[in-house]
Symmetry: D2
Subunit: 297 residues, 4 copies
């Protein structure tokens, strides 16, 4: 089995490795599509993300789809939920699996990710894909899921108004308004900030109505968030921090299957596993939207 | 009628003034007790608070009680809600009267406050006091109300755990835990920050469980709030900003009337209106808890 | 000015009446479109609705649009919010204007409604219509508003699933699933019941997932609601009762203006004020969707 | 090991049985105290509860405490959470473990309960008891937990007002008002109904304010709930159904440990396991509050 492993900054090597074994409750998955995320690019060109550092050769990749290769579900096309919560800590029991303190995350820390031909993964985290949803779409369900989780945190009223700051694309619905909403006097119900800097946070806070919510999805480079106190206080704002996503795969699949969200145009280039360095170089140019690697090609 | 009016920094003068007239929907109130708040002390020793500046001689005071002096409710002992929302703006219609953009607030900006013998005030904002609640207690309902509003924003679960950072007193109930809770590994459900500095905010965020809430009630001197992004994100925190209080007087009166909260010990010194300078000097020493001025004395 | 007034069961008379006068805070409105609601038909063929009875000749109609005929907003095309809350009772102050105990409602009880050429109405309840929204559309904003209020009560998660029981039309979005959802094992997040009978309520309860919500919008003929206790208990259901609508006009107008909801096809026949008896007869046949009366014709 | 097993209506036999074995993830518990619940009395004198029927000899009992008898936690005094959710169904993953469709419940259906000397139970469901909480108190944490879960469903505002209908005792806090609240015009924020009949439900609905909540905890004998539609609609009520309890043990233990709730007086008689028939007979008289059986005596 071939796997793409990051050995050091910029040192991404594809090599043959023994196939993983599926322990109890796990399945083998032939990976068919993996999106390259901004955080993968951070690993690649800095050997780190936030306060996590590369300490040993790591297989990256956490936006993926594949086909189950063993057991009773063999042949099933699935999206691969990249997060393995421990299911027993207080965060998990309180229903915050995304906040699990002992979470393992695909392509992060000690946990090898999806940029390989075959991976073993907990069967419960493999979500069946309807025919209408392609493999590449299946990989895109992960970023869509984060958007849905952000929307959850926004408590957007039905037919309410939202502003999205620092994100090129509108995801999800016409309920998500564009930058013009920011200029409106009355203010939107919710503002989503995705840029990860204080200017965007300030713009988000300026754009919401009194009593509104601001959802912070951006990850600031200096690991610090700063905003003016009086505006936030006078508006009585509520600020919600986004951490990956909670139980959203079924809803993400539903949106894709019903065609409410069209994921096709999001993928703007595709590469085989042997071309993974080209794929990362392409992603780093940030000229397109999403780069997808197809390990079975 | 005597009134204490602040003419400039430290220049507080008691003088005779014409009695105010009560327009439609208003009542005359003989003020019996007025608490001196930290914000009054800011006006007094800096001529300003936040971005508001003293532009003309102003009667201070927004924590008060009195007796209605005219009309059908004459003789009724009342707590005086200091905030007059316009009731028509979107914030008011959305149920956020405390966030009204055209709010008038007793002893702030253009609106004379309670440090005088008689004031005219909207009758709907005069809340009847039960016999068990003294005049000084009635004045203390305003800060109690802010605490209740903060608790509302905390979404404290029934029998849940809270931490209060930077506030000497525990208000309300045994549901409010002390500083020891901060040291607990599992984390509290809600942390209330009342100090108005980034250290306290950081401590509050460190003290809550994953998925918990942090309520920011403190007013920072530099009008800026800063905290570390990763901790807040990994805990998926929700942060709520406190702005005065919404509809809480009935509940504050209920707590005082049932004896759940004992407001008596909060008042540690009392002065007549003629001694208002001594009262402010005493408050500025910050050796006791609350200073109360009794204008009818 | 002509007005259509119901004198007794089935006795609807159009006659000339003096034009109403607009008191303070009110405007004169030339009514251009009025939808006939099921409740109007109840008044017409039973002289009663629920426990309210016809006690004097009454002008019906509460789904309407018009043009302001006096004052500074003269010439403005508006939707007419039919409910006048007192704004001072506890329900109003708590943000439940739709639950105001002293509410006056257009075409109900003592309050003449919209089936006339001119009416005087509180200016704050006249919502400006964008060009894209026709007069008949403007009348349809009232039933759309009730649907939005019901959706609010449903707490529908973003991209979640809903079932609508007993209502021909899907309103609002693809988030509202059809009857097939009822047959799904996993259950929907929210079921909306609009039929007003116990069978529909049972079906709604059967269709939701554990922990889901059931929104009861139907008005039962026998004024009684009954359901099986164990199913509701085992699913830990939350049941929400719909009473008209709260602050929803701005959102309803937004949906119509952006074309998210197409109200045009909802109106299937139109009559002049002189043909109001034909209009009611047509509505009573219940062969189309909505009958609209145009008083200026 | 002795166990009390119900063979048929009224036929409760104490006999020696083989000690159970603790499978993986389980512990052996020496049961020290078991409360007799109304539902146990139903099993005993009707051989059924709701739609569940006695199909084989069953050990009853689900309110219990004990001492761990094996493994690393040996000697630990614990409260025994009686419900074993499957942790994998959608209800569990959505955070509604109490609504798990494959739940096993101590002393119900196929699952033997606590009226025996030793039981094997999942270790994660054994909650350590602080010294201050006695064994009998530990057994009472189960009904206290149901009360806390009901309070959760009530969304009681901080310092808000509640009415409890059909329950002799006030549990939890002064926030729970008595029957006088029912007579108050303004209405309480939440009414808890615990009687399980339509009269109590009607009283609960009459007692709440517009926009308030009614929590139905009673289990009606005829498995049917009926109430008047107009009152519920005009108040825009939300109705929540109680099903056992969700994650509440830590909070229940906290209340008992801090002495906020005094469970001692709730237990009004105690029996050994050999006297279990006398214990049930005593419980059936319903003259005291709680009967506790102590199997180690």
């Amino acid at each position: 089995m071939r796997a793409a492993r990051l050995h050091a900054v910029g040192d991404l090597r594809v090599a043959d490795e023994p196939e993983p074994e599926a322990g109890p409750g796990m399945s083998l998955v032939r990976v068919t599509a993996v999106g390259i995320c901004g955080s993968d690019l951070h690993w690649w060109d800095e050997g780190a993300i936030g306060d996590a550092k590369l300490t040993h050769p790591l297989v990256l990749g956490h936006e993926g789809a594949g086909v189950i290769a063993d057991g009773p579900r063999r042949g099933e096309r699935v999206a691969i939920d990249p997060a393995i919560p421990d299911e027993t800590c207080r965060a998990c029991r309180d229903g915050y699996r995304n906040l699990c303190y002992r979470i393992r995350f695909s392509g992060h820390g000690e946990t090898d990710g999806m940029l390989r031909e075959v991976m073993a993964w907990p069967s419960a985290l493999l979500h069946p894909l309807p025919d209408r949803v392609s493999d590449a779409d299946g990989a895109m369900l992960e970023p869509l899921g984060v958007a849905i989780h952000s929307a959850d945190l926004g408590h957007l009223p039905f037919a309410g108004r939202a502003a999205v700051i620092g994100c090129a694309a509108r995801l999800g619905a016409d309920q998500v308004a564009g930058a013009d909403a920011v200029l409106d006097d009355a203010g939107v119900d919710v503002a989503f900030e995705a840029a990860g800097n204080d200017e965007a946070i300030g713009l988000a806070m300026a754009s919401v109505r009194p009593g509104g919510r601001v959802v912070l999805a951006g990850i600031p480079g200096d690991d610090s968030i700063r905003f003016g106190a009086s505006l936030a206080r006078r508006k009585g704002l509520t600020i919600a921090m986004v951490r990956r996503m909670n139980e959203v795969y079924p809803r993400a699949i539903g949106l894709a299957a019903r065609g409410v969200v069209d994921l096709g145009p999001v993928v703007t280039s595709r590469f085989g596993l042997g071309e993974v360095r080209e794929a990362f170089a392409d992603g780093a140019k940030r000229t397109g939207l999403k780069v997808v690697v197809e390990p079975q090609r």
